[in-house]
């Protein structure tokens, strides 16, 4: 599937306080077309694992009629960036949109933003 990231109002509202539950809840959502949910055998509110190369992240699914089949939209933030590749193709800009990813149903819990930072060597504040 194709991963696209972008801004949303709830993400922007909580962007000045990212440790908040509201921020983590918004940036760990993945909007998929209802047809893709049927193909994956999952329902709104279930979880998926999104994998790109050797990195993966678990997200909560929201059904969205506005999302084209074959794509998923994830609000811009630490969860999506956990799988966004760093290559900038000589422009300085990574591909935050149009990323080819694998998507599968998952039972693992969604990790908090501090969990993700600790995975990368940081420490929660």
């Amino acid at each position: 599937m194709i991963l696209n990231t972008g801004r949303t109002i709830p993400q922007g509202n909580s962007v000045e306080y990212k440790p908040s539950p509201e921020y983590g809840a918004e940036t760990s959502r993945a909007f998929l077309a209802p047809l893709d949910l049927m193909d994956l055998g999952i329902e709104d509110g279930d979880r998926i694992r999104v994998t790109c190369g050797d990195r993966s992240v678990v997200l909560t699914v929201s059904a969205g009629d506005h999302v084209p089949p074959g794509t998923l939209f994830v609000p811009y933030g630490a969860h999506a960036n956990h799988v966004v590749p760093a290559a900038t193709h000589g422009t300085g800009m990574p591909d935050f949109k149009g990323i080819s990813v694998d998507v599968e149903p998952a039972m693992d819990p969604v990790r908090s933003v501090w969990d993700l930072m600790e995975d990368l060597g940081g420490r929660r504040y």
Binding site: P19, N81, G122, R123
Partner: protein, 429 residues
């Protein structure tokens, strides 16, 4: 107390008509702001004072000590990266560029992960820009391409386009046509007179097809281009050519998609083509309230708008090499000073990982995800709320932001000047 005509320091619309209610040194209400602006004024999760990471947790340290240690880290570094700058004012940005030159570091702004590609395209083919006042008063056709202003710039439509009556557009809602291009339906596409629904990655092809039609070469356009029918393309080209004044706005849908700056170059050249028939302009939908300001400040001071490397003792600019994500992903920098941004939240994980292996100092009012990697964080005043300063609107108009209260925090510029003074020993450079 109500402070009137306050400028909002959230996005680069810089709405200048807010009324802010202040009581007992706190903001208790905001009138006229969008949801995003209101939340910024009302958020009250600031860090109390400077903190330093210890072996097992965090300790509070005096400001003096935080500044001294930051200066020492910058001096000791062979290749420091000074990153961020878009959430602060021009005065701090200017101090940052001087500091980068002093320590022979690389200075880059959030520009590189938002409209950096737009600047690369503008450097190739120019910028047919205008002020937002021109759009409000004259534009009868407005394009939003690859952006969702209802979520990222919520008052853009009410202040400048769809809902804003202008001098020559007396009834904007009826007289203005709005075209929105996106790969998905959004709250902005719902308001469009024409919704161009593209296939992902189809922007370059569709812009190219529109250029061909406007140029009179429509016979080369196939029946469908990246999911868009030839009939719709002709209809849109006609709408654009017959406009009295057209305004083309675009966002990350063009800059972050494959093709990057070539997408924007194609958009600029479409605007150029349309301007052979009528008047068209193009404006990037800049994100942070003063990201444009960094590009202005950095250009006056170095000749380049972002991603400037002073390691050679002179300004060197090469996006893709001297941009922050690339430097971090190559594990090249050995110290990072982050000012007014949050790279740990907004950079790919591969780039963020390197922050864990180098000393990081952050100047930011709030704990954020970069705090997780910081050796030291110094909380500062919020520009436009409890600090004065100059910011540039998305159309390049500089506006003076005034504080609405004083919470006793130092501002970014003051801290940066003090760090510089310590490195130079108090003398001039």
């Amino acid at each position: 107390m109500i402070v009137r005509d306050v400028i909002c320091p959230f996005c680069a619309c810089l709405c200048d008509d807010l009324d802010v209610h202040v009581e007992d040194g706190r903001v208790t209400g905001v009138d006229n702001a969008c949801d995003l602006g209101s939340h910024k004024f009302m958020t009250d999760h600031r860090m109390k004072g400077p903190v330093r990471r210890t072996a097992s947790g965090w300790e509070e340290i005096p400001l003096e000590e935080a500044i001294r240690e930051t200066a020492e880290l910058l001096e000791a570094a062979e290749r420091p990266l000074l990153y961020g700058w878009s959430g602060t004012c021009g005065e701090a940005q200017s101090a940052g560029v001087h500091l980068a030159e002093l320590v022979g570091g690389v200075i880059d702004a959030t520009t590189s992960v938002c409209h950096g590609p737009s600047i690369l395209a503008i450097q190739e083919v120019g910028h047919p820009g205008c002020t937002l006042g021109q759009v409000k008063n004259r534009a009868d056709v407005v394009v939003y391409w690859g952006c969702n202003p209802q979520h990222a710039h919520p008052r853009h439509l009410s202040r400048y386009t769809t809902y804003a009556d202008g001098f020559f557009v007396r009834n904007a809602f009826k007289e203005r046509k709005v075209i929105v291009a996106d790969i998905r339906g959004t709250d902005s596409t719902n308001l469009a007179d024409e919704f161009i629904r593209l296939q992902p990655g189809g922007d370059y092809a569709v812009l190219g097809a529109l250029r061909a039609i406007v140029r009179g070469k429509g016979d080369v356009v196939p029946p469908e281009v990246a999911g868009v029918s030839r009939e719709q393309l002709y209809r849109i080209a006609d709408l654009c050519k017959t406009a009295k004044y057209g305004a083309f706005f675009f966002g990350m849908g063009l800059t972050q998609t494959a093709g990057k700056y070539k997408n924007i170059r194609n958009a600029i050249e479409l605007v150029d083509e349309l301007s052979r028939h009528t008047k068209w302009t193009l404006t990037p939908m800049r994100g942070h309230f003063n990201v444009y300001g960094f590009n202005e400040v950095c250009t006056w001071m170095t000749g380049y708008p972002y991603a400037v490397d002073f390691a050679r003792g002179m300004a060197f600019y090469n996006p893709g090499e001297t941009t922050a994500v690339d430097i971090l992903a190559r594990k090249e920098c050995d110290m990072c000073l982050v000012v007014a941004s949050d790279p740990a939240a907004h950079f790919p994980a591969e780039a963020v990982e390197h922050l864990a292996s180098i000393p990081v100092v952050q100047l930011d009012p709030f704990p954020n995800l970069t705090t997780a990697f910081a050796r030291i964080q110094i909380p500062v005043a919020v520009s436009g709320i409890d600090a004065d300063g100059t910011a540039y609107r998305m159309d390049g108009v500089p506006l003076r932001l005034h504080r609405v209260l004083d919470r006793g925090y130092p501002d970014d510029a003051g801290i940066l000047l003090e760090i510089t003074r310590r490195i130079t020993g108090g003398g001039s450079r």
